[in-house]
Amino acid sequence: MHDMSAHAAQHHAPTSFIRKYIFSLDHKVIGKQYYGLALIAVYIGMAISWLMRFHLAWTNARIPGLQWLSSVGAPGGLMTPEYYLELMTMHGTIMVFFVLTTAPFAGFGNFFLPIQVGAEDMPFPRFNMMSFWITFVAFCVLMSAFFVGDGPPLSGWTAYAPLSAVGAIAGPGQGTGQVLWAISIALFCVGQLLGSLNFITTTLDLRTKGMTLMRMPLTVWAWFITSCMGLTAFAVLLPACILLILDHVAGTSFFIASGLVINDKMLPHSGGSTLLWQHLFWFFGHPEVYIAIVPGVGIVSHVLITNMRRPLLSHKVMIGCMGALAFLSYMVYGHHMFVSGMNPFSGLVFSFPTLVITIPATIIVLIWIFSLYGSKLRINSASLFALGFISMFVSGGVSGFFLAQPSLDIYLHATYFVVGHFHMVMAVAALFGIFTGTYFWFPKMTGHMMNESLGKLHFWLTFVGTYAIFMPFHYLGMAGNVRRYQAFVDDYMQPLLGVHKFITIAALLTGAAQLIFLYNLIHSRFRGAPAPPNPWEATSLEWTMPSPPPFDNFGGKHPVVYHDPYQYGIEGSSNDYVMQDSPEQIHTVRDEK
């Protein structure tokens, strides 16, 4: 009898505010919490990028009010060199971890993965709740670095040892700030490990009747593949962070070599391996790039199919390519270290899989583009961003040809070419994936439609603005402009300052366009037209339920799935689509041979 009551208690909606909105066990609330966290983080990260860009273009100009944020870092509003690097570190860390990982993966994934496989919730709701709150604490710890000690660390989001390991002697923020950074990332790893555990188990165990693996939508596949990567990648970064913290606070020498002299003082450490940190970090770091982008690939496919009114040329090939990306991502991490002092033979060994990874990436792009052929493309904010994603993914992807080759990396490493490459292919493309998902799923998540005109305006400004910012980065890099400089004081880079000013203006304007998005989100949340259950005439299970979905998703019943996920373009049917749970008999649209 006890069991029954416990069972029942689990499936009744909680009534108290705290259980319902704060420490909620409901995957949908947790998904929204993750999305909200990413939203706060992305605007902070963007504001930081504004400050950095402004400083790069007008190095000696004062930024009014900046002294309020840090009187040491920006006395009188004039940014110091170290404060620039501290902001840069925070920008990278916030964006990579708390935006590009949380929003497309943990945010949308939590909300939609259980629904799309027909489950009531994740199998371990308590772990799920802990996953979010640990991530939230990680974010707070990171933010606290702004306000304690002498500011955030300045060692970049990659935190290369020994700069990140020797402590305050290496520079401002390298004491307390760097330790807080490492604690924050270690916590983040724990949070994402718990999340990945839930994602994998949900996908494998909680699929409803008829939901075979091949009937899962591409989003589910993307999240599943991502969580497999997350499980292995974060499990490696966590020990690395622990060792880094110990080097800091316990005086160990994991990453600190012997005989280092800073300020004429010889450090007491001995024999640590500098490259060890880089190996551990990039073993995580490269899969992390795919953790950011693969959910975007899934979301874009899902949205594009709905708006093309036809399935992709091949469902299976798409899944295979995402899997291949994930698999290869573990074999290529050394391409970040071509000039790091690794054995030059390893450079070649890492170069080939890196070049090979362009094959699945190319197939993904070709499938998207050639699926457009003969389709009935609908243009709306979501599909515009999805198409924009493809364009970005191509533009950022082709520069990978250069960076995959160690011989060219000799020249291009640590230049703005690299910055342009990863911003386009990882950062902006993943952000376009987030925008795509937002415009597409907002009605389902909130029960309100978003404003389409504002959405399209947002798209145009963002699309053009992004190219205006990040294409010139490649030109700067080709010309030999090095990255992570707070000012271009030398004779060589001075003539390139004009390009930097152009980029800064583009960045300020494109950033401002993001305020339209924010306004649209908030306004539509409260004033948007009520959303019907299936506004986009889509087929997957999330559209079978009211918007927003009720607490128990399917009303205590389990849907039965009869069809492949993307049955569009059905001839002879009353609609041109058949939902996954519709018992209607049709000729299944399968992969084209």
């Binding site: 060199p81 290496a170 040329l313 583009i369 003969g374 250069f402 000799i410 640590a414 080709m478 707070q486």
Partner: protein, 267 residues
């Protein structure tokens, strides 16, 4: 809207290619003997990546133009060949392309890393520290004195921690703040880090290599043009990173000899 979007993609794709084709912001002229291999590889990659970029963007734009806003009763068309054709095309085209790039690129990489320095190459040591480079020439005895980290004393100009009193090899070492090298003579650069990770980057030499604390690496290269070039640090090393640089002067052999003599007198 869709047609405007298609045009926008087209215009952006073309506009992105223009500065590359016009060489608006070119790579600086190469001054090294191994550089032409890298430059050639760069040009080949640019051509292949550029074609891939333009083709993908233009086909994307064309399909958006062609297939958006079709009437409700329009039939779904089928791309002849389907997914298999695309997979085969990707493997053939991209596969050959990356294989070619990979194989030919190895040549340039090998020229830098897999050939031993010539027996008569000139050894120069460079030490990187927060936020300066120092260079050391072995002097007439051809031997570098041992580095003693505990003896490093910047106030007394002992940047390398030498001990000339007890170490005869250190006595005639010449320490300089800028690097000079004779033209057309191979230099064997021994890299040592005093404190943290740094990097040695000379754009014109097509050389970039990190300093690894605790691990002394070496590079060798030959410059074939006289001139003054910038050496910059490209590995984030702290607040002064942006200002960490030195100059490389490539001189004729006679100029170099007199320069070195003068430096020795300054010690």
């Amino acid at each position: 809207m869709a047609k405007l979007f298609a045009v926008t993609i087209f215009v952006i794709a073309i506009a992105s290619a223009v500065p590359i084709l016009m060489h608006t912001w070119p790579m600086p002229v190469d001054i090294s003997t191994h550089g032409p291999l890298i430059d050639e590889q760069m040009a080949d990659t640019m051509a292949e990546a550029g074609i891939a970029f333009l083709a993908a963007q233009i086909i994307l734009a064309f399909f958006i133009w062609k297939f958006s806003g079709r009437p409700k009763d329009a039939k779904i068309g089928h791309f002849p060949g389907g997914a298999m054709a695309l997979v085969i095309a990707a493997f053939l085209l991209v596969g050959t392309e990356v294989l070619a790039l990979g194989v030919f690129g190895t040549k340039a990489w090998a020229a830098v890393y897999f050939t031993p320095p010539a027996a008569d190459s000139m050894p120069i040591q460079v030490q990187a520290g927060q936020f300066a480079f120092y260079f050391r020439y072995p002097g007439p005895d051809g031997k570098f004195g041992t580095i003693h980290p505990d003896k490093i004393d910047e106030g007394n100009q002992n940047f390398f921690g030498l001990d000339p009193a007890n170490d005869p090899a250190a006595k005639d070492d010449i320490v300089t703040a800028e690097m000079a090298m004779p033209v057309n003579k191979e230099v064997h650069l021994l890299m040592h880090s005093k404190d943290l990770g740094h990097s040695f980057y000379v754009r014109e030499l097509r050389v970039q290599q990190d300093f690894v604390p605790g691990l002394d690496l070496s590079l060798h290269f030959t410059a074939n043009k006289i001139g003054k070039y910038e050496i910059v640090c490209t590995q984030l090393c702290g607040l002064g990173h942006y200002n960490m640089k030195a100059y490389l002067e490539v001189m004729s052999q006679t100029d170099f000899d007199s320069w070195l003599k003068q430096q020795a007198a300054n010690q």
